[in-house]
């Protein structure tokens, strides 16, 4: 007995109510506050801000709560919100050389002005589950030193003095905006960097890792990795000068890569660049490696056919909101297309059997 699939509206409504109930979990457990998520799950918040392309820890925390901790879902919530926001204007480029660094390390020099500052890193923790945390999450106060007052210069600046590293010529061109213009190929470096900084961390990591394993290896040293806050300045037309409108936390990674050169040009180190919202170390290093791999043409290298060198491949598949949407849409009804294939395969089988059967009869 056939019952038409009716009542989709009621089903959707009930599903949403159940979902909300599941999100809340057992009601005898205290509800998470946004402040708790923001303060105690800050790296998740950072990832949501980075891939959501919106620097707002409170909104990111809300998104994480609403998404039940599914970070891609949270990123999606932030993106969908972001796209409705009016654009009042564009800030000036941030000066990462003025960054108030919480962490700043270089793998290329033992010491340099500004020093090696480990900061709050997992790097040298032993990955042993801390069962004490299960009972008591209080942390001892970390000792404090005096903050460095003067700006911390970029390591690559020291190499530039020697002309031993490729120069990145300054430009006042307004870069494109991939959220306002459709992506077209071939693209350019500003758009590539935009795409990578909001790209899926796992995807960018995998692409970067593939270069390390030999698919267009570019032998990267972390020239510098710095995490800290930078001021955001904006020109206000009515005032005629730029004012501080806030600050954002950023992770910046500059890699120093294998050198190029020829008979006519002396060898020079090359660079990759990563810049990501929040404390997003893995992502910014990965971004720098992929950026460097994508620069093969500009640096006169061979296209080795490696995935990480392929701009169209990397940029078309880096966005996890696009990827997850298209991947998951195959669970939506497809019975019309399936029916058409069903009929076709039945017909082809019928015809094939007709072709085969008389032959067998003759044998």
């Amino acid at each position: 007995m056939y019952v038409a699939v009716k009542g989709g509206e009621k089903a959707i409504e009930n599903a949403h109510t159940w979902l909300a109930e599941e999100r809340r979990g057992a009601t005898d457990v205290a509800e998470l506050s946004l402040a708790q998520i923001r303060e105690q799950l800050s790296l998740a918040v950072n990832r949501v801000m980075a891939e959501g392309s919106l620097f707002d820890p409170n909104l990111a925390a809300l998104a994480i709560k609403q998404a039940r901790g599914d970070l891609i879902e949270a990123i999606f919530l932030v993106r969908a919100y972001r796209t409705t926001l009016p654009r009042f204007g564009y800030s000036n480029p941030v000066e990462t050389s003025e960054m108030a660094c919480d962490r700043r390390i270089s793998a290329t020099f033992k010491d340099a002005p500004g020093g090696q500052v480990l900061g709050p890193t997992f790097d040298y923790t032993h990955r042993l589950l801390d069962f004490k945390l299960a009972a008591d999450g209080e942390a001892p106060k970390a000792p404090e030193g005096t903050a460095r007052q003067e700006p911390t210069p970029h390591i690559t600046e020291f190499l530039k003095g020697e002309d031993i590293i490729q120069d990145e010529p300054a430009s006042d061109d307004t870069p494109g905006d991939l959220t306002r213009e459709p992506m077209e190929f071939p693209s350019n470096r500003p758009l590539r960097l935009q795409s990578l900084t909001r790209g899926d961390e796992g995807f960018v990591l995998g692409m970067a890792y593939s270069t390390q394993r030999g698919y267009a290896r570019n032998h990267a040293f972390v020239g510098e990795l710095r995490i800290g806050k930078v001021a955001v300045e904006m020109e206000i037309p009515e005032l005629g000068f730029a004012i501080d409108i806030g600050e954002v936390e950023l992770t910046e990674c500059e890699t120093v890569n294998q050198f190029t050169g020829s008979k006519t040009e002396p060898p020079q180190f090359t660079r990759g660049y990563g810049l990501v919202f929040g404390q997003s170390e893995r992502k910014s290093i990965a971004m720098a490696l992929v950026d460097r791999a994508l620069r093969w043409e500009e640096l006169g290298e061979d296209n080795l056919g490696a995935p990480a060198q392929d701009e169209e491949f990397v940029l078309s598949h880096a966005d996890n909101i696009q990827a997850t949407g298209f991947l998951e849409h195959i669970k939506l009804p497809h019975y019309v297309d399936f029916q058409s294939e069903l009929e076709l395969v039945r017909k082809l089988r019928r015809e094939a059997e007709e072709r085969i059967t008389p032959k067998e009869a003759a044998e």
Binding site: P182, E312, E328, L332, H334, V336
Partner: protein, 286 residues
Amino acid sequence: MSEYNFAYLDEQTKRMIRRAILKGLAVPGYQVPFASREMPMPYGWGTGGVQVSAATLTPEDTFKVIDQGADDTTNAVSIRKFFENTAGVSTTEETEKATVIQTRHRIPEAKLREDQIIVYQVPIPEPLRFLEPRETETRKMHSLEEYGLMHVKLYEDISQHGAISTAYAYPVKVSGRYVMDPSPIPKFDNPKLEMDAIQLFGAGREQRIYAVPPHTKVVSLDFEDYPFEATKANHLCDLCGAEDSYLDEVIMDDAGNRMFVCSDTDYCRSRRETGHVGRLAEENAA
């Protein structure tokens, strides 16, 4: 939802989309890049169609949404609700009464009129995509009108299977120029692509809009000796007895018994209301 603009998108964005639509209408079948926005539903759920509908709807419009031909599939319900909330337009399930119809995977059975617009949700707008994955290449192929690869594919189908083995998203040539993906409609619907209504296609994730103006020639690709054939299940609708409508196949019991019903729920309903009776109609009413 008064905090959002009419039909959700801001006016600037709608203007940008309308420009793309007009360009699409001016160059039938050509895929116009547009700066698709992140919508509050996932890519793959019809964000392209939703953006085109949002840019097309006016407060006076009557909106209909179908998915798989049906008004009551979950995603059709969800999209209809979205526009009820954000645009406050009146909605209908009757093809006849709608001025804008958003669809996924079907063209209604009833003939559409000049004063109607049909908006298709498109997953992969590029008909050559599965022959050549690179956009840079396929755009070149379109600009040079180089469609040999597609004919080779159809030919290979015939040599392997004895027939063209594309059942949906069957490629068409529009106005003698561009090869176009009609979205994943069953090839049964292809002949309807020459119609009186305006046809707009929106691909959100892939950032493309294209269009077929009314009365435009749309030819399904084929060979003289292997002509295109619009096929459907060889049955009548078990509810309304229609012999000319595209059918869904429904498994009815553990023994695997099947019934066939119109995929276009409005068409089926209107036929039953005018007294048409199918094989299992009474049993269903009981």
